[in-house]
């Protein structure tokens, strides 16, 4: 995803400084995390990275591209999940997502995602990447579960994705709005409840009619 990686640039001339991309991306994420969008400055990123502005603009065409790229690289480290059971998979996934959105990088990633979704012109690679990463996980988990007979068929998998990802997002959002600081235990507990709801619902058994009529 990094723009700076095309052909390996074999040839004459000074090669690009090896650690530069790394330093710049880190600096970009840090600046974005600390100062928010309004305070996110190209000059600031370059200064924090200890690098000239030309070094930045040689690699990314503009501010948006840099931020998008930073977030894409650092903000999507979601490892695949396969515990053998639907509940285990979803529990693991929910914990991952909650931790992800609670971390500075994951939070920044999400904000940039919303920014991208608001500007139709630069929906380029980013939206695909997001869809891929975020959507495929649940899809694969559910397909395996259906194969094992653990999950009903004919249910739109997108709804499951949206509920789990959305719950993690809103949980992180409310944590910030209310000034809480959730520890790992709180996150695990919340993940358990969300998965329980997704798996079994919140209705009492007697009122539970056939859900998908």
């Amino acid at each position: 995803m990094t723009s700076g990686e095309g052909p390996p640039r074999r040839g004459r001339g000074r090669p690009r400084t090896p650690g530069a991309e790394e330093k710049i991306l880190n600096a970009a994420l840090d600046e974005y995390g600390e100062r928010g969008w309004a305070g996110f400055t190209m000059d600031g990123v370059a200064r924090r990275a200890g690098v000239g502005k030309s070094t930045v603009y040689l690699r990314w065409p503009d501010k948006d591209a840099l931020l998008t790229d930073a977030v894409t690289n650092r903000g999507m480290e979601l490892t695949a999940v396969d515990t053998g059971s639907l509940e285990g998979d979803l529990r693991q996934l929910a914990v991952n997502m909650l931790r992800h959105f609670h971390s500075p990088g994951g939070w920044a990633s999400m904000r940039v995602t919303f920014d991208c979704a608001s500007s139709p012109e630069r929906l380029g690679d980013f939206s695909e990447a997001v869809s891929q990463v975020h959507g495929r996980q649940v899809e694969q988990i559910c397909l395996r579960a259906i194969e094992r007979g653990e999950m009903i068929e004919d249910f739109p998998l997108g709804a499951v994705t949206e509920a789990i990802y959305g719950a993690a997002m809103v949980n992180s959002l409310s944590e910030r709005l209310e000034g809480r600081t959730d520890d790992d235990e709180a996150i695990d507990t919340r993940a358990a409840f969300v998965v329980a709801m997704v798996l079994g619902g919140i209705a009492t058994p007697q009122t539970r009619s056939t859900p998908h009529s």
Copy 2:
């Protein structure tokens, strides 16, 4: 919520032009909707509102405050819900939320909410307002349902809120990222599935263990 409420304004001096707040807020939302964040200009808002910049800065200290306020005022018009049954309430709520986040105003409102959550310094009234509006709805619905015996007890209502609101958010997000344009029918269908999931779960009956052990 309007920032313009400071001292009680004893009758000295020319009173503030009555319609100005209204005009400015409308102009701000229009500019934000048409031109996006990047093209959202204080001069532009003032010009569109037919007002001087000082009139704007007399009421809101800066750009962020104006946008936040505009979005808070126009973006939260969520009517209460009471259909008599848990499923009906949640269905209605889910439809409302989906429509809300799919509309330009609701989408903008959400983005500003994320911006506020990222800048700890101005979490003032806004976070309370959001929590109030967004959290109380589900709480009241669920409390009524528990009273009617339709819903299990001892389930954290926050998880329900987060799932429904989050699902609506992510649904709107993916609509934009993927370039779809969902019609009302698609929205209603998606709302039905989400509510079904929340109410009854997605696990097959035979694998359904006691969820809350």
Copy 3:
């Protein structure tokens, strides 16, 4: 010269506050003296005078008019001179002028005069006033001296005026530029030398005493 003095305003309605003109003119001169042209503010004048802006604008149409008027009223208190001899008259006049331009009011008056001379559009009453006050003095002194046979004829009186007034101006200017603070004695001495220089040139030979006694 004060704009506020037309018809005595006999009639219905509240009469104008008696001391207002005075207070405003004083405040204007003080502000101009302390802060210079750039820091000279209508709001500042009104505040210092303890008066609303409308009270000011009711009397003078704009900033220039107020400043011009303030300076004309306070800065031109040049009493007529008639000692009986040319040397005595000029000496008295030179001392007056030097004291005038060294005083805050006189200095301000001069600056405003230059401002007026630079803006051809508002040369209205002011330039006439200046010419009157500044030119007639020397003219009358010289005419009397010619009549007494103390001064040569056919010499342009304007040149005498310009030399005396100009010397006083430049003396005050250089005092400020060089950070000096001339006392009365220094001023009197300088006046004596200037008059000696002027007299040596314009006096007829028979009345010409040793010029530098």
Copy 4:
């Protein structure tokens, strides 16, 4: 005198555009001349110079500094004078000064000088420059004349300076106030009279020719 001389500018970074100072100073003088103080705008200067505002503010801290500098650079081109006789020197000097103050640049220079003298904080280089340029001329002329025996000793040279410079100033001032437009002949005639007056006073008797020939 140009403010643009700070650190020696080691060769790092892009060098400042060579012709920029020149262009900006010219644009500033033109704008000041055409539009006067009220219409003298930093944006206007930058636009006329074909330059961004940052380029201007990189060199001068504010409006006053730019105008002062423009006027100092362009407004002081007074060539030295040495005709061999006191009368010749003073005549030449008086003509120079009259022409100077009658020209737009010289007039502007003088106004800025008065502004500087009114604001004690920025009397920095400017006052020295003015004193140097304006005072030394007369001093040198007189010293040479004393050496030649053409001028009495023990006369304060400052008084001579002040009379000649002041006369030129007031002459130009009254020209503007009265709406005259003096041609070169009028200026020369006036210079002759002023010098005659000054000489009659300061010349020793033996070199004193008939002053008004």
